[in-house]
Symmetry: C2
Subunit: 578 residues, 2 copies
């Protein structure tokens, strides 16, 4: 964990402390936040990082006779320690017993665990999601009886949507619910891809489906599913209702389950994006440390074999791989934390118009914050492996596991291809969502120019042009879709998502660059000599902003050209031509 | 294996049959080639594909007591069957007992094995490489005694360069060789990353190092090395000389080892590139089959849940992932086969000027043919996994293993970053290598235009412009390097390599498109109805050419702009700013 960077993003870029002035967060101050981060750091190290490799080597064991799944005792202990530290309640409202901290802070807490042990820590978000559904849609009895058990970690939560034959096609699911005289329902059907479907944590498991039913696990039987490439300890597993049907308790109104479920889904999409940052951050920091220690070869200007070898961080190709990682990882983290800030602002704003704007912006950001880190932080992991050369893909080093554990993020909670940003989000409110994004970017562009300095001026110009390009491209694509070219729009939704993501991350880099520039000016004003580390930190931020702007944001020019050409090669390809 | 495509590339694009008119290959005809491919197909299925997953689950077992490594009995049998079928000699000269077939054909044979079992089949190329070194540089005794054993598979070959502290920094290796009164040498030192360093195939192993020594394995002791992410059955392993030193037999002249070794290295770089195509081809074909069978959802124009679900190949995002794979995999295969054709032409050309040209072109193509497939076929594997959704990363399906086994290709025989194309190759002969490439491209552009049709005309125009861009970019970068900006050039060598690779693969697609157009015209002239499959095949080729040209080649515009901007952000980043 790079605490310096986390503090920078939380306090210098996002100004999370300002939230303590609001009624909702008035019980908090920076000391509260820091204490939570300190505890997370300790716990993540002692109970999660320590058993990361072991969990990978010893995936959960399924026993057919007892129909149970057994996780490592160290993982059971980690689950207990995490729950006891109160981390399941970090972002929950005080009225249901939560710590009611900003989502930005609970996200920063979560980052410690996803970077320490991505596979095992993936399931905690399911408890929180299930608890939030019950808080808002549960009966008084469910709120009194089940919710506290989810927040204490005594029970676990899952989300049960996919079925073997239907995957993400929710209109085709076959599970049925028949009302019983006692008010419960008999649930019959098969579900799969259920993270945390079974474990030996001791309590029961609350399974949520659609219509939304709460189904305690003791009514179900399980079947084993293939061990995954990554995330082995998350105990993903298929489950099946018992022959006679399992007892389900309706949550909310009948047939409104999907609506309720999207509370959980949107929360999880944010969590998946942030979860993708964790292993990439771990990989970046590990490969950086390795590159500083490992010596090999010499500078291209000095090939004399009698001189000592240099640390490989001095080779420009290694620097490229580190800079790419820093730019992707810290940029993605910035995007997640900005989004968390929008959620926090929403929770502290009463004004209806302002709330509606924030909601619209959040609808636009959610697929981006899910998809971009899933894909590009995985790319960062690939290059972390490469920094170590042959060592990178051996099990003696943690890099190959980090890659494997990060891989499912591209599939969890909707693939990038299925997140139809263009059709569903960008056009929302007649393009109002994108206008809101444009206004937010314009504000930060102005702030960057005001902060001064050539790198910020250049980055601000580039971002302004890129935002203009994004708006024009969106208009062209929506125009084509309105003209009947629906498939062309859909077939380009992946590229459009990438273009939006690259622009959004460049924007976050501009925000970080602006904060770094202010930091440098402050150091200068203070005139102290003790700030060498801080100065290097800020200069690194500005330099990485420049790298991302020049090397990555510039690619949106080609993306825009390609998208606006409305190329239909993909759509017109026929199945029998492959 | 897609034999139709392999036949297309071998016979319709590369015209391998024409080689049978030359003296060197006059003992061959198409029936000879087809028979070799048929045998390879059968053997690859029965002995390699069948045990691909098993080999992954049961990596070689090291026994400390006996200092031996034991592979699965099925792999020992596969090694024997491969050797007995004569596949170690496919490309070897008849004078040393080889079948003396074109490299294009032996490469096509090899593709069957790398797609069936990338991990286990990786080691065969080492026997061939070692045999070629002995043929050209060995003593009469070595040629008589060792070479036949390498070609019969009784002995195995390895390449021993890396050492624990030095990796690819060959000026820093510490292994020493002391001459003995009997003409042999005592070798002392530690080597690592030695593919096929130890096995239980029954014979001994001939280890080659620099200066070039042949060291039979019985003089060495081994130590285990971490099991790899991929390629588990290739038994990569560290080895150490026995305390008293191992006996080495000098091959060639003292201190000329690296020169000799580069015969093996260049052969292996070609093999690594082609080896990268294997698992990507397997992943493409598997995901294609899955996408045709798996039903889910409906077309965007018909959301009626009472209609049956459609095969996912009809969804445009799935089509995108398949088209990307087809374009990368078949384009990379085309590049490998073109390069094989250059090697074959070299072997059948006596004219000194023509030979020198071919050699120069080969020097330029070798790093590209190593790096581009290693990186982009891995990307294809990533998307093959994604086509299967959650199934893609479980061990119940072969996709995740294909990805893992393909991953080390980015590191084998020099990372993309270390393959300094710009500094070492493009500038060769004062830019003569690139001029040769330009002339070859221009010839194919003219042929494409002559073949007619709008898709070819468009692709020819785009390729011509891209080739022009590549030449201008090269001139700009070499000019900057000459002006002292050495580091800037080096730091961009990865991007330059990608730009060259994208251009070269688009060129190969133009060649395939031209052959497809000719095929379509032939079908039309024949007027038969029985050619529906052929027609679909050719249309798919032309369509994929269009996709690669529009979606990928177009990216070289941005790459050129970026490279020519001589951005020094990477070089000026400091170690303590990370």
């Amino acid at each position: 964990m790079n605490r310096r960077d986390l503090d920078f993003i939380l306090y210098e870029v996002e100004n999370v402390e300002a939230l303590c002035q609001t009624e909702r967060y008035q019980h908090c101050d920076r000391a509260t936040f820091d204490a939570a981060l300190d505890t997370a750091h300790q716990l993540a190290h002692s109970h999660f990082h320590q058993y990361n490799a072991k969990g990978d080597r010893h995936p959960p064991q399924y026993c057919q006779e007892t129909d149970t799944l057994t996780l490592l005792p160290e993982h059971v202990a980690a689950h207990r320690a995490y729950s006891d530290a109160g981390f399941l309640t970090t972002s929950m409202d005080a009225e249901v017993g939560g710590s009611q901290m900003p989502v930005a802070v609970s996200g920063a807490v979560g980052l410690h665990f996803s970077s320490a042990n991505a596979g095992f820590s993936a399931h905690f978000a399911l408890n929180v999601g299930a608890a939030k559904i019950l808080q808002h849609h549960g009966t008084d009895e469910q709120r009194a009886h089940v919710l506290p058990k989810l927040l204490s970690g005594e029970w676990c939560g899952t989300m049960c949507l996919s079925e073997t034959h239907a995957g993400s096609s929710l209109t085709d699911i076959r599970t049925t619910a028949h009302p019983q005289p006692d008010g419960t329902y008999k649930i019959r059907g098969n579900k799969m891809w259920i993270t945390a479907a079974e474990n030996n944590f001791g309590g029961t498991i609350a399974h949520m489906g659609i219509s939304l039913f709460l189904v305690p696990k003791h009514a179900l039987s399980f079947s084993e599913e293939g061990v995954s490439l990554g995330d082995r300890p998350a105990s993903s597993s298929a489950w099946a209702g018992a022959t006679g049907g399992a007892t389900g308790h309706l949550v909310g109104e009948p047939n409104q389950g999907l609506h309720c479920m999207f509370i959980m889904m949107n929360e999880l999409r944010f969590q998946v994006g942030l979860g993708g940052v964790g292993p990439a951050l771990a990989g970046y920091l590990y490969s950086l440390q390795y590159a500083r220690q490992r010596t090999q070869g010499r500078s291209p200007l000095c090939r004399d074999p009698s001189t000592p070898m240099v640390p490989i961080i001095e080779h420009s190709d290694v620097k490229r791989m580190l800079l790419l990682q820093k730019a992707y990882v810290e940029g993605a983290l910035g995007l997640c934390m900005y989004t968390a800030g929008v959620i926090d602002a929403l929770a502290t704003t009463a004004d209806a118009a302002a709330r509606s704007d924030k909601l619209l912006l959040l609808e636009l950001l959610t697929p981006v914050v899910k998809a971009w880190p899933s894909e590009w932080c995985l790319e960062a992991n690939k290059w972390a492996m490469q920094v170590l050369g042959g060592y990178g893909y051996t099990q003696d080093f943690p890099l190959e596991q980090l890659y494997r554990d990060a891989r499912p993020n591209m599939i969890y909670e909707g693939t990038s291809g299925a997140l139809d940003l263009l059709g569903r989000k960008a056009s929302m409110g007649g393009g109002a969502a994108l206008k809101l994004l444009g206004a937010a970017v314009a504000e930060d562009v102005a702030a960057a120019r005001a902060a001064g300095g050539a790198p910020l001026a250049e980055a601000a110009d580039s971002l302004e042009a890129a935002m203009q390009r994004l708006q024009e491209t969106t208009a062209t694509l929506l125009g084509a879709a309105a003209g009947g070219e629906v498939e062309v729009g859909l077939s380009n939704s992946h590229a459009y998502l990438t273009m939006t993501g690259h622009t959004a991350v460049a924007w976050q880099w501009l925000r970080q660059g602006t904060a770094a520039r202010r930091g440098l000016l402050r150091l200068e004003a203070e005139g102290g000599d003790a700030s060498a580390d801080d100065e290097a930190f800020y200069r690194g931020k500005l330099h990485t902003m420049q790298w991302f702007t020049r090397q990555e944001l510039s690619k949106t020019e080609g993306m825009a050209q390609l998208l606006c050409s409305l190329d239909d090669t993909n759509v017109s390809m026929r199945g029998n031509w492959f």
